[in-house]
Amino acid sequence: MNKRQIMTKVLIFLALSILAISNIYPLLFVFMNSLKDRTEYLKNPFNLPNFKQLAWGNYETMISQFQIFRLFGNTLFISLVTIFFLLALGIVASYAFAKLKFIGKNVIYFLIISSMFVPVQVTIIPLYMLFSKLHLVDTHWAVILTYLGVFLSEAILLMTATFRGIPDEIIEAAELDGAGYFDILRHVIIPMGRPAIILCVIYYFIVTWNDLFTPMILLTNMDSRTVMVALASLISRYSGDPTFQFAGLFLAAIPAILVYAIFQKYIIKGIGEGSTR
């Protein structure tokens, strides 16, 4: 490498570092200020907290009074059950779309995929009325069902594309060995379609964990609210103590960030592949 190339590399490194700081700093800002008390925060929000007396009380109150972990439980239940049914329904349907021949297959596939772009806002009021007739409003099932409707088409698109890449010969060989429908799913489709399945799990965990609109409309009572709904209503009170709110926001950011930190390779790859189709 000559001098000019080295200079270019250094400049690129610096530019990317600036971008990285701009992406990381907000979380750091939230964390630092969650460890201050109100007056300390108002004096200078950019200062480091006073390390001799960190305001862990913000977190204590978040956990004991605001009961943030119970809210975590609500969100977690919705996320995991949604993912379970997305996979349970999505894998069998995608297998059929990718590998089985039946009448009307292409029409059905087209109809399901074409609903992908219909935003949830379009259907939310009719759904709310439907769920209220079924006494499902304020239950997590209303949110789970709505999510299934919105996400199934996307998940099926992704998994069908991946399952199509599984060679027919492997399935036929398994059938020669006497494998039935569920054997093929279990021993061929699921292991070989693993990248798409893992991507679905991670991606929809993050999306459902962070979502606000659907649970805010469908969950109105305090006990069933998700963590984002509860925090959105907490921060909408202007009089609230910002450092206390920061503690809640920081805790709520951790699960999605953690999942991303562990599985970021799958997500980056999946997002990239989805785009180029």
Binding site: T8, F13, L19, A96, V118, M228, A232, Q264
Partner: protein, 299 residues
């Protein structure tokens, strides 16, 4: 493999296929297609969710177009669309920088996507605090002697929309960068290398060599970003401006939420808005399909 394709076997497979997609069809009919139809039908009624449910023709639509903040909502969405070229331009720059694979580029690639992982509730709150009257941004402006710039950013439509555009751009750069980078890895490296050897500078290489090669990816990113701006910004608007002042930063999807919670429960009107939103999205999706077909014809 003709041995296995006996009539019986085919029948069995077809039955398996139909049974496999049946649960999805059921869920989609119940949770997706029925509510879409319901929304279209109810938009022609004075539905309030309880007692009133009379056919009123296009009265809701007339009200939307003539006697409602609809045009403000549409204007706001179009202003927010300013973030689309910004995020694509910066995302492209970031993708080109990441492509050089300098030390730690995988770490940078992971960090670039981080805003997408943070909930809009958290991001929105930070932007609201940052641009508050006594917030950090105004504090810094006052400290460096730009007192006259320390205004109530979220208090009037122009600057409040600017804050939203800023926020949506910051949020979306990483997504654009990652998909453009993925598109770039499909370009044979020799093409980009030879451009450098031929003495093309950074800008020439980016816009004359790379951009034409990733045109499809950029176009996909643009359409998705436009659709998202119409449908995905609720949580940002809610946590930064609450759609205010007045309706000055509301969008169509935000107004559906507002109408839902208003005491008058004018669901006919709200479903009318929903139908208009649906039509906008359908036009955009259709445009994308036409456009992508055209692009593949060129190849």
């Amino acid at each position: 493999m003709t041995f296995s394709w006996s009539a019986n076997f085919r029948k069995k497979k077809a039955l398996q296929g139909i049974l496999s997609v049946l649960p999805v069809i059921f869920v989609m009919l119940f949770i997706r297609f029925y509510p879409i139809g319901e929304a279209i039908y109810r938009s022609f009624t004075n539905w309030d969710g309880l007692y009133k449910n009379d056919w009123v023709g296009i009265k809701n639509y007339i009200e939307i177009f003539t006697d409602s903040p609809f045009w403000t909502l549409l204007r706001n969405s179009f202003v927010l669309l300013i973030s689309v070229p910004l995020q694509i331009f910066i995302g492209l720059m970031v993708a080109v920088l990441l492509y050089e694979e300098v030390a730690g580029w995988k770490f940078f690639r992971a960090i670039v996507y981080v805003p997408q992982i943070i909930s809009a509730v958290i991001i929105g709150y930070l932007f609201r605090i940052a641009f508050g009257l006594d917030g950090p941004i105004n504090g810094v402006l006052r400290d460096i002697g730009l007192e006259f710039l320390s205004i109530e950013w979220l208090g009037n439509s122009g600057t409040a929309l600017f804050v939203l555009v800023f926020c949506l751009t910051w949020f979306s750069i990483g997504w654009q960068a990652i998909i453009i980078l993925a598109g770039m890895t499909k370009i044979p490296p020799s093409i980009i290398e030879s451009a450098s050897l031929d003495g093309a500078n950074f800008w020439q290489r980016t816009f004359l060599v790379i951009v034409p090669m990733v045109a499809r990816t950029i176009e996909y990113g643009a359409i998705m970003a436009i659709v998202w701006t119409f449908t995905g910004t609720f949580a940002f608007i809610y946590s930064i401006t609450y759609g205010g002042p007045g309706y000055e930063t509301s969008t169509i999807d935000y107004m559906i939420y507002t109408k839902f919670y208003q005491a008058s429960a004018d669901y006919g009107f709200a479903t009318g808005l929903a139908v208009i939103l649906l039509i906008i999205i359908l036009i955009l999706t259709f445009a994308e399909m036409v456009f992508t077909n055209k692009v593949s014809d060129w190849e």
